[in-house]
């Protein structure tokens, strides 16, 4: 449970945000200069809000009314800074150990060897930060924050300069932390992929204000968001449950209100709730059920509305049972198919377009 309700001033820039979330992972999302780092700094205690209240799992970190202002070292947050900020006079091993040493043994829940292996740091331990590459520095910063066994993890674009495979590994680990240790995480990112995969709840920041917040599924269904995310990433999020696994083909069937969605292997037991982001560009429409096609998911749906009147592309909002989907198709196709609100169509969703990144634990 993260509660934030603060006003922060940075020069002439005002941040005034309030959000609460009982989801373990909250994503802060917003354009460059929106005020995300400022908020994270306020939570970490490295910037003092003008007024307000910050509480994590009931522990009050800051409360201007009650004159509570825990020192940064008392907040036990693990802060992965946007620009690593490694200690230049220590080698990697000492950087990693810095916070760990200050944590009582009883409070340590992070396995040092495991984190070092995960971040691929073993051969770097003796090096000074100057002798690391940009991505290596970021990895050490992540390790340093984790090894302090924080009670809240603040990650300010931690994966920005990492390659895709490493990113995936680290994301898996973060998911694990969230899942196994119920470690609350505030995650700043520009990558919607990361956000949907990791976060349960998201807060969209624009110009120092909250422009949308709530469960990821809800927030992402709001079309106004496109200004922040770019068109490419429009889509919908479906809340589903694991129905069954097809061990033979390595597929998982997810049941949701509009039917079933077959996707590659999801690491969850039958019955567990999951969240699936289906991107508009991955959804096609057909009037008839196609035959002899590789597309696994054919969902009967009804057109709710069609976006805009100009341009080559149309976003078609669909009702699939109680759930919603968005399909992005060419205007030509919409015309060819004669789509209009109320038209009954079949939404075609490739199973492979929903990979592990698009599925999060609810």
């Amino acid at each position: 449970m993260i509660e934030v309700d603060i006003a922060v001033r940075r020069g002439t820039f005002d941040v005034e945000v309030a959000f609460t979330s009982d989801a373990p992972i909250v994503a802060l999302f917003g354009r460059s200069g929106a005020g995300k780092s400022t908020i994270v700094n306020a939570i970490a205690g490295t910037v003092r809000p003008v007024r307000g209240r910050i509480a994590v799992d009931g522990r009050v970190l800051f409360d201007s009314a009650a004159r509570v202002d825990l020192k940064p070292e008392a907040r036990r947050v693990g802060y992965v800074f946007q620009d690593a900020l490694l200690f230049p006079h220590m080698n990697v091993a000492a950087n990693l150990a810095y916070g760990e040493r200050l944590t009582p043994h009883a409070d340590r829940f992070v396995d040092r060897a495991h984190v070092i292996a995960l971040l691929d740091l073993p051969q770097l331990l003796e090096r000074r930060p100057v002798n690391l590459s940009g991505g290596e520095r970021q990895r050490v910063a992540i390790g340093r924050a984790l090894l302090a066994s924080p009670r809240l993890l603040l990650m300010d674009e931690p994966l920005a300069s990492l390659d895709a495979p490493r990113k995936a590994e680290i994301l898996t680990y973060i998911e694990l932390l969230r899942y196994e240790l119920r470690l609350p995480i505030v995650y700043v990112s520009h990558a919607l992929e990361e956000v949907t995969r990791l976060a349960d709840s998201m807060v969209v920041i624009a110009d120092g204000r909250v422009s949308a917040s709530g469960p990821v599924a809800e927030v992402l269904s709001q079309p106004e968001l496109q200004a922040q995310t770019g068109r490419f990433d429009a889509g919908a999020v479906i809340e589903a449950r694991v129905a069954r696994h097809d061990e033979h083909y390595g597929l998982t069937a997810l049941a949701f209100d509009g039917g079933e969605l077959v996707v590659p292997n999801v690491d969850a037991l039958p019955g567990e709730p999951v969240r699936v982001r289906v991107r508009a560009r991955d959804v096609s429409l057909a009037l008839e059920v196609p035959r002899g096609a590789s597309i696994q998911n054919v969902l009967p749906s009804e057109v709710i509305s069609l976006s805009g009147e100009f341009g080559a592309i149309v976003d078609v909002a669909l009702r699939v049972g109680a759930a919603r989907l968005v399909a992005r198709i060419t205007r030509k196709a919409a015309d060819d198919l004669g789509l209009a609100p109320g038209t009954r169509v079949h939404a075609l969703v490739k199973a492979v377009s929903i990979d592990r990144r698009s599925v999060g634990f609810a």
Partner: protein
């Protein structure tokens, strides 16, 4: 080549300079930190007080020390009861050296502390380190070159300190006659220029040694070792 007397002088000078620096270093670090990081009313006066020994003629500083720390001085009396005697002892020479070198030390350390990226200190605090721990594990190590430079300047100053020392603790061979005092004594007697020159060279050699040592120290602790 150096006579026994000279050797005695050199040893004494080194002892005086070393202890002068060693005792004042912690205080200088604390002072530099306060000046670099704290805001308080009267700070500028405090700052000025630190610089006094630099601005005043050494003789005046010597007199001031004599008045304060002499056997009958207010501080001297108190310290006397604690068994600490500065007057006319080598300890007094060390005190004079420390006082004269103090502003140099403070300034150099402060300069280095000012140059430390405060965001690194912030990072350390989020990792659970208290302010004091941050100071010793982050700020001070990063200010290392300033520390060494400050100590070197103070040490060199101590090796060259004359006016305050001779005024405060006199020029007693074997007790307070450091190199510069010995050199002075020689220059005061006509025809002993050679000895004075000789001792000056010894002085130069010592400082060369100190310098080389300091360079080594800086290099050793430099956080920004180039690849």
């Amino acid at each position: 080549m150096p006579t026994r007397d000279e050797l005695e002088i050199v040893v004494l000078s080194l002892k005086v300079a070393f202890w002068g620096v060693a005792w004042s270093l912690p205080l200088a670090i604390a002072t530099a930190f306060v000046l670099a990081r704290k805001r308080f009313p009267g700070k500028i006066l405090f700052d000025a007080a630190v610089h006094l020994p630099l601005v005043l003629p050494p003789v005046v500083v010597g007199f001031a020390l004599l008045v304060l720390f002499g056997r009958h001085g207010p501080l001297g009396k108190v310290l006397d009861t604690l068994g600490v005697v500065f007057a006319f002892r080598w300890t007094g020479a060390a005190l004079a050296a420390a006082v004269m070198g103090f502003p140099l030390m403070v300034r150099a350390i402060r300069l280095a502390i000012d140059a430390v990226d405060t965001r690194l200190e912030v990072a350390a605090r989020t990792l659970g380190a208290k302010a004091s721990r941050v100071f010793f594990t982050v700020t001070l190590p990063l200010a290392w070159p300033g520390l060494v430079t400050g100590a070197l300047l103070a040490f060199a100053r101590a090796l060259g300190e004359f006016g305050a020392t001779i005024t405060f603790v006199s020029n007693i061979p074997g007790e307070t006659q450091t190199l510069p005092l010995a050199i002075y004594t020689f220059t005061q007697s006509p025809g002993q220029d050679a000895q004075a020159l000789h001792l000056s060279l010894v002085s130069v050699a010592l400082s060369l040694g100190a310098l080389a040592f300091s360079e080594w120290l800086v290099r050793r602790g430099n956080p920004r070792l180039e690849p």
